[in-house]
């Protein structure tokens, strides 16, 4: 299965992936509308910055699937290998945040729910927005 992988030697910590992700998942038709009126849609990818390296982290769609197994509501499930969240069923209890070994699940406290990377399968499909938007090829979408 193709997944998003990060080459930390090439990441510039520009955070563009976060903006592209947030916009792609905002429901807005483009970046400008997504961030209009001071709105800050929440990205499902997070850049960690260090003194020597930087890298982005997002759902690994890993084999353990502790988030899906632990989900108390049934909001998280696996569709064709991709871990997806039915946000209408999420109550924001945080059990998946407790379970995810990579810290990939993003908490939306205000709306009592979580967000997570679904490899853009629910929006435009194809190559995920973070990969498309990365100016330095530090994020790739490939089979490993």
């Amino acid at each position: 299965m193709k997944k998003v992988y990060v080459n930390e030697d090439w990441c510039l910590a520009c955070h563009l992936c976060e903006y592209y992700c947030a916009a792609a998942n905002s429901g807005a038709p483009n970046m400008i509308k997504a961030f209009k009126n001071g709105k800050k849609p929440i990205p499902r990818i997070q850049v960690e910055e260090g003194s020597e390296v930087n890298f982005a982290v997002q759902c690994r769609h890993c084999d353990g699937k502790a988030c899906v197994k632990g989900c108390i509501t049934g909001a998280l499930s696996i569709v064709d290998g991709v871990v997806v969240c039915d946000e209408s069923r999420c109550v924001g209890c945080g059990t998946c945040i407790l379970s995810c070994p990579f810290g990939c699940i993003v908490f939306d406290e205000e709306n009592h729910r979580i967000h997570k990377c679904d490899l853009c399968t629910k929006n435009h499909g194809g190559e995920p927005a973070c990969v498309q938007g990365c100016p330095n090829n530090a994020i790739v979408f490939e089979e490993r």
Binding site: F55, K69, G94, L98, S99, P101, F102
Partner: protein, 409 residues
């Protein structure tokens, strides 16, 4: 193969998933004394609060049983396991044969003997039916007395607060949520909940109940329109015990989830688990634990050997918008970082992270959980970064690339 599952919650659903991963054709029958499609027990407070609809309280889609080839016998209670003849007996006398049996009977509310309690009307807070009854008797602005300041009692308080109830919570312990919080975090959470208008009376218990009133051992009297008893739960172990299976505080299983009875497995809140963070046996009444035990059991029942190891206590919960994530054991050297709205405690022992409490800021907590579960030596991580916040940066490059490459050790 003919599989029978007693119970219809997380451990049962995990068992179905485990079986179906290996065996797509064997017959599976789920038997439950509750009449509902599998629902999420932790969601009952959200339902009562009005935050989860009738439709969304269900733990799996309406076609779940059909899609998994599961037959259900709902609203009937198993009264006996006939291990010699490999069948279970229902309350209507019908015997249901099995090749492999799963006992996922969960737990029941514990109601200690209290003076006068037998003469007053009270509720427990454990099932969809219990909150439906509460909902039907609830009137706006009621005085409600909750006995028990643990997870269940306080989730009940949060839900009832939404209905403008005037809530008093009484607990014998001198602090709230002792199962997941330390003293300091407990005080912070107590203050937060008190600020919402909930009243706590701690360090005392009910001496005698009369109609609409409780006299406490400290001399106080609390009047109530509704009484909820939420002091704890006890595992449903009787079926296994009566059949001659090994039971201590809960049902004893090996790490394939098999009980001491041939072809009989058990999973979830009715069982004793091994806590890998403290190396002790205890009941881990947690939904993720129930599901994962069930899944491992299901695979073993279907003939492929798997073992369930590395269980630890862990909880994610929030009250009135203040979130807590905690895991592991709290016995060791402590690191504490506290602000007005947040609390962080990390507990180290044997050069590993053994436990943590995060309150207020719970982001990325699972990275800490993985440190505990994977017994990662502190020599492998940047401890200052670990203390700062959960982050993948704290791991060395090799370990990080292995992890982010999608491999779980």
């Amino acid at each position: 193969m003919n599989y029978v599952i007693i119970g219809n919650s997380a451990a049962a659903v995990g068992t179905i998933a485990g079986i179906r991963e290996i065996d797509s054709t064997g017959k599976i029958t789920v038997i439950s004394d509750e009449k509902y499609h599998t629902y999420s027990r932790p969601l009952i407070s959200y339902w009562l609060q009005g935050k989860v609809s009738d439709k969304n309280i269900y733990y799996r889609d309406p076609d779940f049983y059909e899609n998994n080839g599961v037959e259900t016998v709902l609203g009937k209670k198993v009264v006996k396991i006939d291990a010699a003849n490999k069948s279970v007996v229902l309350d209507d006398g019908l015997a249901v044969p099995y090749d492999k049996l799963m006992v996922a009977t969960g737990s029941k509310p514990f109601v200690p003997p209290m003076n006068g309690l037998d003469k007053v009307h009270y509720h427990t807070f454990m099932s969809f039916d219990s909150v439906k009854t509460i909902r039907s008797e609830l009137k706006d602005g009621m005085n409600i007395l909750i006995i028990g300041a643990g997870l269940i009692g306080l989730k009940a308080a949060e839900a009832l607060h939404e209905h403008n109830a005037k809530i008093t919570v009484v607990d014998m312990a001198d602090r709230i949520l002792p199962s997941i919080l330390d003293v300091r975090a407990g005080m912070k959470m107590q203050k937060h909940i008190e600020n919402q208008g909930v009243k706590f009376i701690l360090g005392t218990s009910a001496d005698e109940f009369t109609e609409h009133s409780a006299r406490l051992k400290n001399g106080m009297t609390v009047d109530f329109d509704m009484l909820i008893i939420a002091v704890g739960v006890r595992p449903n172990t009787e079926l296994i015990a009566d059949a001659g299976g090994k039971v201590e505080r809960g049902i004893i299983t090996d790490d394939t989830q098999k009980t001491s009875l041939d072809d009989v497995y058990a999973a979830g809140d009715c069982t004793v688990s091994h806590d890998a963070s403290s190396d002790t046996d205890k009941i881990l009444a947690l939904l993720p634990n129930a599901y994962m035990q069930g899944e491992v059991a299901g695979k073993n029942m279907a003939g492929r050997e798997f073992r369930y190891v590395n269980a630890i206590p862990m909880n994610a919960i929030g009250f009135f918008g203040l979130h807590i994530i905690s895991a592991g054991s709290y016995d060791g050297e402590e690191f504490i970082d506290e602000t007005e709205n947040t609390y962080k405690k990390l507990v180290f022992r044997d050069n590993t992270l053994k436990g943590y409490i995060l309150m207020g800021d719970v982001r990325r907590a699972g990275i800490y959980t993985s440190m505990i579960k994977e017994h990662i030596d502190l020599g492998e991580v940047d401890v200052e970064m670990l203390k700062e916040k959960p982050q993948m940066m704290m791991f060395g490059k090799a370990r990080r690339e292995e992890k982010l490459g999608g491999i779980i050790r």
